[in-house]
C-alpha cells in the first residue's frame, strides 16, 4: 500500500470513529436500586447548599421541574398535597429546579405555595446526570439513599399515592396502580 493510500485509510477511519462516538455515546441512565447523583446544589432562595443525603433516613421524592414547564405546573400542587398528607410518615420532597430563570422559579414556587426543599440546577447538569430528556420527572429515594421508584413523566395525586404511598406504609406498590412510565 502506498503512503498516500495508507493516509487516506487512516483519515477515513478517523472520520468513522468520530461519527461512531457521536452516535453511540452512552447516555447516563439510572435504575432502581442504584444511588442517584447527589452532589450538593445551591438552594433556590440562595441560603446555602442542600443534598438528598441531608435527609438520610427519610423517604425522599426528588422532583425535577421548571417554571416554563406546563406539566410541572399541573403536577406541583399534587406533590404539595401528597407532602401535606404524608410528611408525618417520613416523606420529604426535594425539588430540583432545572434550566430555569431564578426569579421565574421563585415566583412559581410562591404562586403555587410550594413548601418543600428547592435547589437550583440552572445549567441542567444534574438533569443530564440523571439522563432526563424532559420535565417533569420524579425519583423516590429510600431511607438508605437508593432509588426505589423512577417516574419519567408528570404524576397526578392518585398516581403519586399509588407509587409512593405503599413504600411509606412498608409495602410495595401494586403493579396495577403503577403508571407505565414508572419503574419500581
Amino acid at each position: 500500500m502506498s503512503n498516500r493510500a495508507f493516509l487516506a485509510v487512516i483519515g477515513a477511519l478517523a472520520v468513522i470513529a468520530l461519527l461512531a462516538f457521536g452516535v453511540f455515546k452512552a447516555e447516563p441512565s439510572l435504575a432502581v436500586g442504584e444511588a442517584p447523583p447527589d452532589a450538593p446544589l445551591p438552594r433556590l432562595d440562595g441560603s446555602g447548599d442542600a443534598a438528598i443525603a441531608d435527609f438520610a433516613g427519610s423517604w425522599v421524592l426528588v422532583n425535577f421541574w421548571a417554571s416554563w414547564c406546563g406539566p410541572c405546573e399541573s403536577e406541583s400542587p399534587d406533590i404539595q398535597s401528597l407532602l401535606e398528607d404524608r410528611a408525618d410518615d417520613g416523606l420529604v420532597v426535594f425539588g430540583i429546579n432545572s434550566r430555569d430563570a431564578t426569579d421565574s422559579a421563585r415566583a412559581f414556587e410562591q404562586e403555587l405555595g410550594l413548601t418543600w426543599e428547592m435547589v437550583r440546577d440552572g445549567d441542567g447538569k444534574r438533569m443530564d446526570e440523571y439522563g432526563i430528556p424532559g420535565l417533569p420527572e420524579s425519583f423516590l429515594v429510600d431511607p438508605e439513599g437508593r432509588l426505589a421508584a423512577i417516574c419519567r413523566g408528570p404524576l397526578t395525586l392518585r398516581q403519586l399515592n399509588a407509587v409512593v404511598g405503599p413504600f411509606l406504609d412498608g409495602a410495595r406498590p401494586a403493579a396495577a396502580g403503577v403508571p407505565p412510565f414508572c419503574e419500581v
Binding site: K25, W68, G70, R99, D100, G122, D123, G124
Partner: protein, 154 residues
C-alpha cells in the same frame, strides 16, 4: 494633491465617527441577541425555537434590555442563569472542542495541499530537469504550422 487627501480624510472621519459612536451607544435588540443564544432544552438557536423555555429566555432578554444592560452584560447574565450552554458557541473542552479545532485544521491541511499542488504544477510547467517546456516549439512544429496555413489559405 496633498490638500485633497487631507480634505478627503477629514470628511471620512466626520462622516464615520458619529456613526461609530451611535453604534456603540445603541441599545441591543432581541433579534441581535437571539441568534447568539441557544435554547438549552431543545438544542436550537433561540431565533429558531418556539419552546416554552425559549419564550422564557426571550422574556428575560427583553427585561434585561429594558434595564439598560449591554449585549455582553445580557449574555453574561444568561450564562449565570442557564450555564455556558446557553451561548450558541460550542464549549472549549471535551467533544465540543472539535468544533473549534477541526475547521482550523481543515484550513491548514487545505492550504498545505494547495501550496504543494501549486509548486508541483509550477515545476512541471517551468520545465524542470528532463521535462520539456510546453512553451517551446517542438521539432517539426514549424512545418506543421506552415502546412496548416497553406491548407486554410483562400
Amino acid at each position: 494633491m496633498r490638500a485633497v487627501r487631507i480634505l478627503a480624510a477629514t470628511l471620512a472621519l466626520t462622516v464615520l465617527m458619529p456613526a461609530t459612536a451611535i453604534a456603540q451607544q445603541a441599545p441591543p435588540s432581541l433579534p441581535d441577541i437571539e441568534d447568539e443564544v441557544m435554547c438549552p432544552t431543545c438544542g436550537f438557536s433561540l431565533a429558531l425555537s418556539e419552546s416554552p423555555q425559549a419564550n422564557q429566555i426571550r422574556d428575560l432578554i427583553r427585561q434585561l434590555i429594558d434595564e439598560g444592560l449591554t449585549k455582553e452584560q445580557i449574555k453574561d447574565a444568561l450564562v449565570v442563569e442557564y450555564g455556558p450552554e446557553v451561548l450558541a458557541s460550542p464549549e472549549t473542552s471535551g467533544f465540543d472542542l472539535a468544533a473549534w479545532v477541526v475547521p482550523g485544521l481543515a484550513i491548514l491541511i487545505a492550504g498545505a495541499a494547495l501550496t504543494i499542488g501549486v509548486r508541483r504544477w509550477r515545476s512541471a510547467a517551468g520545465g524542470g530537469p528532463g521535462v520539456p517546456s510546453r512553451l517551446e516549439p517542438e521539432p517539426g512544429d514549424d512545418e506543421r504550422l506552415a502546412a496548416d496555413l497553406d491548407r486554410y489559405r483562400l
